[in-house]
Each structure stands twice: as structure tokens, then as C-alpha cells.
């Protein structure tokens, strides 16, 4: 097991932890943190991938940079929605669909 594989495996473990968190947590901030952990886990796998040849591969590097921007955008939108909901009525429970 090479160093690069170890990083990949750790990234996947982190991904699983984030996935569990995002499904199980009910607090919005916890869910968002879990989503970000998942994102970072994917970036970790990508960065490890970049280093598994002789030369560093810039393509995963660029993918991570793009991914970070998208993650920032997604997180900001979720936070904005959460804050809007809080403004409309403090303490929110989503109504079940029916």
C-alpha cells in the first residue's frame, strides 16, 4: 500500500463520515459541516490522485480549485436559506411533505 493509496483510503473514510453526518444530523449547521467534510474528502482523493505518477498532474489540482469555489457557493446559498428561515420564525422544523 503506497502513500498515495493511504491518502485515498483516508479520503474515502472521511467521505463516509461526512455522508453519515449529513444524513443523520438534524441541525442545519451540522449538516452543512458534514457536506463540507464530504467535499474535502473528495478533494483529498483528487490530490492523492495527482501525485500517483512520476510528475504532479495539474488536472486534479485544477479540479480541486474549481470544486472549492463551487463548495463555497453551495455553502453560502445554504447558509443564506437557513438564515432566511430563521428570520421568518425562530426555530424551524421542516414540515413533512403531505
Amino acid at each position: 500500500m503506497s502513500q498515495e493509496m493511504l491518502y485515498c483510503a483516508a479520503g474515502i473514510a472521511l467521505f463516509g463520515i461526512g455522508m453519515f453526518g449529513v444524513i443523520v444530523a438534524t441541525h442545519i449547521i451540522r449538516k452543512l459541516i458534514a457536506v463540507n467534510i464530504m467535499g474535502i474528502a473528495v478533494f483529498m482523493v483528487l490530490l492523492a490522485t495527482a501525485r500517483h505518477g512520476a510528475v504532479t498532474d495539474p488536472i486534479p489540482h485544477a479540479m480541486v480549485l474549481t470544486g472549492i469555489v463551487v463548495a463555497v457557493a453551495g455553502t453560502a446559498l445554504c447558509l443564506w436559506l437557513a438564515l432566511q428561515i430563521r428570520l421568518l420564525g425562530r426555530g424551524t422544523k421542516g414540515e413533512p411533505p403531505r
Partner: protein
């Protein structure tokens, strides 16, 4: 699962899912993770990657930094859409434009009653820090062509200067002026314009004429930096103003 969304301070999260469901979920995720790790370990041989191709074509890209070459030349379409993704969130969060805002300046000194007494040390520090951060942003933008750096890094540092300024408490930004909308979409506009111009010059959208590639890339990067910095600062400022609305300052 996602049916219960809470947003309360000082509250221990109460589970929505039963213990059995959680255990089953944990088992499913562990199984997925294990099979993924097994798949990685079983993929023995080093697969081909694109590092060699990027290195080979780097001279034709107009920049010396392979990551910048990928972001702004080889895969510039990704970057174009990425800036558009930022615009999505910016438009969603932007406050509505007010007709009273005509002639208002973007950055102004907050002279209304302010419950926070601005910290004089912080304000003096900001006088140095903000120009320095903008200078650093410019450097990062420039150096991105040859070494680590580039539009996003530069924009993040510049937006950081804005964040510091707004945390100082003395300055405010007017997000409702039309200039904000222009600044947020400027990067995208220049990007699309350059892409279209390229189509006329070289016959292919997004293909830079080799002699002018570095100039055009710097042009695109500069305006993208302006847009990204504006949008990042906007996101921070809007979220902050929602988190503690002016009516109910904490304390």
C-alpha cells in the same frame, strides 16, 4: 432523513432517525467505503495520467504555471462555468436594488449610530492591512502565470481585505447600488467576450491565438478577480447582516 431541519442555538440535536436506522445506515456506508477502498487497493498498475500531455503543451498555452494553463486554457470552459456558479449564488443573495441608492458610493464611512465603538488600534492596523492585502492580491494574480497563484487566490485575499474592513465597524458597503451587479458579472462578460473573439480570430471558441495568449489570459483573470472578490465579499456581508440583523445587535 432530511425532513427535519433545525436551526436553534444552544440546543442538543435530537435525533430524527431511530437507532436501528442509524445502525443500518452506518453499516451501509461502511460497506460502501470498504468496497471503495478494496477497489482502490485492487487497482494495481499506475494508470496513465495527463501530466505529460500538459507539460508537452505548456509552451503553447501562454502561461508557465501548469495549473493556470489547465484552468485558463486547456480546461477554461470549466472555469467559465465556475464563475457562472458564483454568479448564481451572488444573484440569489444580492439585496434588491433601491432607487434611492443612485449616486451612492460603494464604500462609505458608517456615520449612523453604531453600538460598536470602533477599536482605534484595529482601525489603524486596517489602514496598513487593506492596501497591503490588495497589493498582495495583485501580486498573486500576476504571479499565477508562472507559479502558484491566480485569479481565485487573488480574489480571496482581496475579499479578505474587505471582510477586515467591514469587521472594523467604521466602514460599510452599499450592496444595493447597480455597480455591484456590474462588478459581479464583469468577469463572466469579459470571459465570454474573449471566448467569442477567439472564435473569430482562430476559428475555435476559447482557443487563444498563440501570440496573444498570455495577454488575453491575464485580461480574463483580472476581470474574473474583480468579480470573484466582489461576490465573495458580498456573500460574507449579506450572511453577516442576516446573522445579526441591525435591529437586534447581540448584547
Amino acid at each position: 432523513m432530511f425532513l427535519k431541519l433545525e436551526f436553534k442555538e444552544n440546543q442538543a440535536t435530537s435525533g430524527e432517525l431511530s437507532t436501528t436506522t442509524r445502525v443500518l445506515l452506518a453499516i451501509a456506508i461502511v460497506a460502501l467505503g470498504t468496497s471503495l477502498i478494496y477497489a482502490i487497493l485492487s487497482a494495481g498498475k499506475a494508470p496513465p495520467d495527463l501530466a505529460a500531455q500538459v507539460a508537452e503543451k505548456l509552451d503553447l498555452s501562454g502561461v508557465g504555471n501548469p495549473v493556470t494553463a489547465v484552468l485558463l486554457n486547456f480546461r477554461s470552459y470549466d472555469t467559465l462555468l465556475e464563475v457562472a456558479v458564483l454568479l448564481v449564488v451572488a444573484v440569489a443573495i444580492m439585496p434588491p436594488r433601491l432607487s434611492s441608492s443612485a449616486g451612492k458610493r460603494f464604500l462609505f464611512v458608517n456615520d449612523t449610530h453604531n453600538p460598536h465603538v470602533p477599536d482605534p488600534i484595529l482601525l489603524n492596523l486596517l489602514k496598513w492591512l487593506v492596501p497591503l492585502a490588495i497589493l498582495l492580491g495583485g501580486y498573486l494574480l500576476w504571479t499565477g502565470a508562472y507559479s502558484p497563484g491566480g485569479a481565485f487566490q487573488a480574489a480571496a485575499v482581496i475579499a479578505g481585505a474587505g471582510v477586515a474592513l467591514s469587521l472594523g465597524g467604521r466602514h460599510k458597503f452599499a450592496w444595493e447600488i447597480s455597480g455591484v451587479r456590474l462588478a459581479s458579472s464583469l468577469g463572466l462578460l469579459v470571459f465570454v467576450t474573449v471566448a467569442a473573439t477567439n472564435a473569430f480570430i482562430t476559428g475555435t471558441t476559447l482557443q487563444y491565438p498563440i501570440d496573444h495568449a498570455s495577454t488575453l489570459i491575464l485580461l480574463v483573470e483580472t476581470f474574473t478577480t474583480v468579480s470573484i472578490a466582489t461576490i465573495l465579499l458580498l456573500l460574507f456581508a449579506q450572511l453577516k447582516s442576516l446573522a445579526d440583523p441591525p435591529g437586534e445587535m447581540h448584547q
